[in-house]
């Protein structure tokens, strides 16, 4: 199946805070920009539906404002909870347009990647 890329925003729109909330097929997506890359998370926290967009990006983690669960920026994995926030593939073109795929990455794959990163 060919991956579907949907333009959701531009890098300029992310603003000084380097984060933005967008809608994609009626799903809220929180975009974070760090280290020159853009990351896409399901906006509502897997724990209790708090908005991750309102949270903070610190030390490579997206921190939920609700209970400070810390999701790995690359994988969405919360190591202390053993749970994953859905993350989405992101592509940014030369014009600065941000494209997101509407199907989340497979959470188990992210968790395994995390385990391997630790090993």
């Amino acid at each position: 199946m060919t991956a579907e890329w949907v333009a959701v925003a531009t890098v300029n729109e992310m603003g000084r805070r380097r984060k933005l909330r967008v809608e994609l097929n009626d799903v809220a997506i929180a975009l974070f920009q760090a280290g020159g890359r853009v990351y896409a998370f399901a906006d509502l926290c897997v724990h209790q539906d708090r908005s991750l967009f309102k949270g903070t990006l610190l030390h490579g983690k997206v921190i939920c404002p609700g209970h400070q669960w810390q999701f790995d920026l690359e994988t969405g994995y919360e190591a202390d909870q053993g749970r994953c926030q859905p993350t989405y593939p992101v592509r940014v073109d030369d014009a600065g347009t941000i494209y997101v795929q509407p199907t989340p990455k497979r959470p188990e794959a992210a968790a395994e990647a995390e385990q391997e990163a630790r090993a």
Binding site: F32, Q33, R50, G66, D80, G82
Partner: protein, 409 residues
């Protein structure tokens, strides 16, 4: 080389996190968690909230997933009472079982609820809320239309009041203090929390010293010193915990309302550590020994002891942080309270952050529905800030953290 063994006495948050961090840091010896409850390590915070309401089930509570336990070779022994540890040999002595020889021992024995003597024919109507079994026993009592009396307006009592109210229970909370939580969050925020509960339908009776709690054939009666009474179908007593120090005392550890440790969690006896609710740890930040009864503290100290056992790290001395969820509001606190806080946001609308200052410097914050501010204030602790900017909602708090224009992350 013989395989080293680490034994935890207690199998709650601090013990589980210690075990997890020992493995994460490459410890390949034996890890044994000894718990007095019949369950593997579970999270306590949901017991007064999501688990009690039924919003989350048992599966959400376990701290260490089954697969992780199997992959990481952790021995969990439940339902055991530890008598003492032999200080010389570090043999952990168990009631009715063989000793376990340990190279390092972590006391993570937590606490148990302070109790009230309750005379009367129906002691089963009096509940406490500390353990999973407590919550399992209490949950079916919280049905719409019933009357619940809560003795003690601390965090447990208030969270329970909120959960029960949402279930349609008529809730009365009785506490001798003039305001709830004021010792922790100050007078102004105590008033805010008081209002939150009363506006949500809780009959919160502050300044109400207790004469007696008793049961009758019909239910529970709470006698208040001013002569009034509260009649209820069921009661929960939430008046704090007592640290579990029996085994520590029998071991000969230095005690002072808990087990006294250094900043890294070492007790007065070599190779014996303590963490979590039971530990009175030296905090360089506070300049004193402090004992904290919060989830985050248990996690951090558990992790710090894992480091100490492996002779790395110097302990965790992060500012105290905790959250609570009451009446659909997310409350968070960091640092320490002092005086009248500055308010950022909408106090009346219960959507604000209160920032405490001491000597002009930020020392703590309490937020309602603004956990994101707590993260920023944590970075501002100890710093003098522009108070006008602090209270100005158009100023991003992170702009106060980072003086330059460079964005963090």
């Amino acid at each position: 080389m013989t395989r080293r063994t680490v034994v935890t006495i207690g199998a709650g948050q601090a013990a589980a996190v210690a075990a997890r961090n020992l493995r994460r840091r490459g410890f390949d010896g034996r890890i044994v968690l000894l718990g007095d409850e019949p369950h593997p390590p579970y999270q306590r915070p949901p017991l007064s909230k999501e688990f009690l309401s039924g919003a989350e089930g048992l599966d959400s509570l376990w701290i260490l997933p089954q697969k992780w336990l199997a992959d990481n070779d952790i021995d969990i022994v439940t339902g055991v009472e530890v008598r003492r540890v032999d200080a010389a040999t570090r043999a952990v002595q168990i009631d009715g079982g063989p000793d376990i020889e340990a190279d390092a021992v972590l006391f993570a024995t937590g606490g148990r609820p302070r109790t009230l003597p309750v005379p009367g024919p129906r002691p089963e109507l009096i509940h406490y809320l500390r353990t999973l079994d407590d919550a399992t026993r209490l949950a079916p009592q919280l049905t719409a239309g019933r009357r619940l009396a809560i003795v003690g307006a601390g965090f447990i009592g208030l969270e329970l009041a909120a959960t029960a109210t949402a279930a349609g229970v008529h809730v009365t909370v009785v506490d001798p203090a003039p305001l709830p939580l004021a010792r922790v969050i100050g007078t102004a925020m105590g008033q805010a929390v008081c209002r939150l509960h009363r506006d949500s339908g809780v009959d919160l009776r502050t300044g109400s010293a207790l004469d007696a709690v008793r049961t009758t054939a019909d239910g529970v009666v709470v006698d208040i010193a001013d002569g009034s009474t509260v009649h209820a179908d069921v009661a929960v007593v939430g008046i704090g915990i007592t640290p579990n120090i029996d085994a520590a005392a029998a071991t000969g550890l230095h005690l002072d309302d808990g087990i006294v440790t250094d900043a890294a969690g070492r007790t007065s006896i070599a190779h014996i550590f303590a963490a979590g609710d039971v530990a009175r740890r030296y905090s360089p930040r506070a300049g004193a020994h402090v004992r904290l009864e919060h989830f985050d503290n248990a996690s951090r100290q558990g992790a710090a002891v894992a480091d100490a056992i492996l002779d790395r790290g110097t302990g965790s001395d992060e500012p105290p942080w905790f959250w609570s969820d009451q009446h659909g509001r997310n409350l968070q606190f960091v640092g320490t309270a002092a005086g009248d806080p500055l308010i950022r946001g909408d106090l009346d609308g219960m959507d604000f952050t209160a920032v405490y200052l001491q000597g002009g410097a930020v020392c703590g914050a309490f937020s309602v529905e603004r956990g994101e501010d707590i993260m920023a204030v944590r970075e501002l602790l100890g710093r003098e800030v522009d108070t006008a900017a602090l209270c100005d909602e158009d100023t991003d708090l992170w702009d106060l953290v980072y003086d330059d224009e460079e964005v963090h992350a």
